[in-house]
């Protein structure tokens, strides 16, 4: 099946009505077995399509169907974070990125399924059930942006995801699509329901690099409502240059994945200079990542008190009882696990051992990247250490955490990274991670665009 792209969707819009195309898309979604959407925005989407047909919808994404991950706030459209505790939450405002989508004429298809509060690598922790892999329904689509990964090119043209430790790149790899985690601060987090603020970014997902660039240009930029926003806009510039590419030695994968990876490295060598690089701090990155993410989660998720929004009990009891019971009934197991471990890591006597130590590792990881980019233009690795897992395959939490080993160092340092499909092994997609220097998305996207062309030509 040919994947939907902005280009082929626009071609269809020349001869067909947007209303008919969008209706057809919803027919397909309603029959889908992927379980990729939590809430559909059908009525509003069809209204927008009608506006497009009347010539009233303008902008860079005019008439293009876009899916939005369900941790990104959408005004008057249910936003659940795939949690029981927000199963009935109707936000009174739009996230910055949603404002931008609307201003550019996009048609929002619906809210995509995810791991509860983005805590997971397989979308199995969702209160609304697991998302299935489009290439094998018995396997996971990755996570936490599993729904967005599964719908791109199939049940939406484009999608937004969020990435705290690999949550865009993992599903992009597992679903055979492209996904970008931008430099920390490039995209406003205003309206992104927080899990670990200092690590996460909203980013684009698309079926080709050209579309990834387009969506990134729309969402990146200044927003004073996010105090960590860098205030920079992004405009892609085509550059055809021989680059110095570094393969990160510490980022491995199972043989079947690594063989595919090195097959593509040979292609890369036809134009670019390739060398290996060691990043010694990465040995500690996974532990440091989980300590920081859990600590920030324990603080962030304190807001779910059953008073102002979300899951609530019929009877108000004493504060401690009410609060503890709402959270016991409203949160799933993985979320409880992370909140509790985060509370522990920040508690008296353990702050120095866990949290402060993790922040020091973060400095070491950041320094390793700064050093690496003095000699290299982009760094590469397999995105995931294995092929998409069978549903239920990773039962133990720690085993699951370890699957993020290649993606989390990027979030600790705040550098940008994308995943690009490089082919199939046993009928399942494999992704390559391309890492860039701070605010140098342009170089990595140019490289990815070239690589995509080479892979398609072969």
């Amino acid at each position: 099946m040919e994947m939907m792209t902005v280009k082929n969707w626009r071609e269809r819009l020349e001869s067909e009505k947007a209303y008919d195309l969008v209706s057809e898309l919803f027919d397909k979604i309603e029959k889908s077995k992927l379980n990729a959407y939590i809430t559909l925005n059908k009525e509003d989407a069809l209204k927008r399509a009608e506006e497009f047909d009347k010539g009233e919808l303008k902008g860079k994404l005019a008439g293009i169907p876009v899916a939005v991950k369900d941790c990104i706030t959408t005004k008057n459209l249910r936003t659940t974070c795939a949690s029981k505790i927000l199963h009935n939450y109707i936000p009174p405002f739009d996230a910055h990125v949603v404002e931008r989508l609307k201003a550019e004429g996009a048609i929002i298809v619906g809210k995509t399924n995810m791991d509860e509060f983005a805590m997971g690598t397989t979308t199995e922790t969702s209160y609304f059930g697991v998302v299935r892999n489009p290439y094998d329904l018995g396997r996971v689509a990755g996570g936490s942006s599993g729904g967005s990964g599964a719908v791109v090119g199939r049940e939406a043209v484009l999608a937004l995801g969020s990435d705290t430790g690999g949550s865009i790149r993992c599903p992009a790899s597992f679903c055979g699509v492209c996904g970008l985690k931008p430099t920390y601060g490039y995209v406003s987090r205003y309206g992104l329901i927080p899990y670990a603020n200092s690590l996460e970014q909203i980013g684009p997902m698309a079926s080709c690099i050209e579309d990834l660039i387009l969506l990134f240009e729309v969402i990146a930029g200044k927003d004073e409502r996010d105090s960590t926003n860098a205030g920079k806009e992004f405009k892609f510039e085509m550059k055809d240059k021989k680059l110095k590419i570094g393969i990160i030695k510490e980022m491995g994968a199972k043989d079947e994945v690594i063989d595919k990876f090195y097959e593509v490295v040979e292609t890369i060598k036809s134009k670019h200079e390739v060398d290996e690089i060691e990043m010694p701090s990465f040995k500690y990155a996974l532990a440091a990542y989980y300590i920081i993410a859990m600590s920030e989660a324990s603080s962030n998720l304190a807001r779910y008190d059953g008073v102002r929004y979300g899951y609530a009990l019929d009877k108000l009891d004493s504060w401690t009882k009410y609060f503890s019971k709402v959270r016991a009934e409203g949160f799933g197991k993985e979320v409880k696990r992370r909140i509790m471990l985060g509370s522990y890591a920040l508690s008296a006597g353990y702050y120095g051992k866990y949290y402060l130590k993790a922040l020091k590792v973060r400095t070491l990881v950041k320094n390793d990247f700064i050093k690496a980019f003095k000699n290299f233009d982009v760094l590469i690795s397999p995105t995931m250490p294995a092929l998409p897992f069978k549903i239920g395959e990773l039962a133990d939490p720690l085993t699951m955490y370890k699957m993020d080993v290649n993606t989390v160092p990027i979030n600790l340092a705040g550098v940008p990274a994308l995943s690009i499909p490089i082919g199939f092994v046993k009928g399942l997609p494999v992704g390559m991670q391309v890492i860039g220097n701070y605010f140098d998305e342009n170089t990595m996207l140019n490289f990815a665009l070239w690589l995509e062309g080479e892979i398609r030509a072969n």
């Binding site: 200092s198 532990a287 008073v307 102002r308 108000l316 009891d317 009410y322 950041k366």
Partner: protein
């Protein structure tokens, strides 16, 4: 070693009610996860901690008030509302 009492203590810090069965599961899981975290004890290099990655400075702006969300919009997601206010549980026993 994480004990059952530790798990109850952590659950209380996090304000999450847990039952005996959950305590056993969490005890095992926390034990193995925290053991893994001990890998950080190997690090001897002394560096400054990084709380956030961008070199950000304070940004100043004029103190101009902006329109806030309408009260009924803000209250519509709450189950317990009285006289235009959120109603919460008793704080004092």
């Amino acid at each position: 070693m994480i004990t059952r009492d530790d798990v109850y203590h952590i659950a209380n810090l996090a304000k999450i009610e847990i039952d005996d069965k959950e305590v056993d599961d969490f005890k095992e899981e926390f034990q193995s996860i925290l053991e893994y975290f001990n890998i950080l004890d190997e690090i001897e290099e002394e560096v400054e901690p990084t709380f956030q990655v961008l070199p950000l400075n304070n940004v100043f702006r004029e103190d101009v008030s902006k329109k806030s969300l309408p009260r009924d919009e803000v209250l519509k997601n709450a189950k317990h509302v009285e006289d235009g206010y959120f109603k919460g549980p008793r704080i004092v026993e």
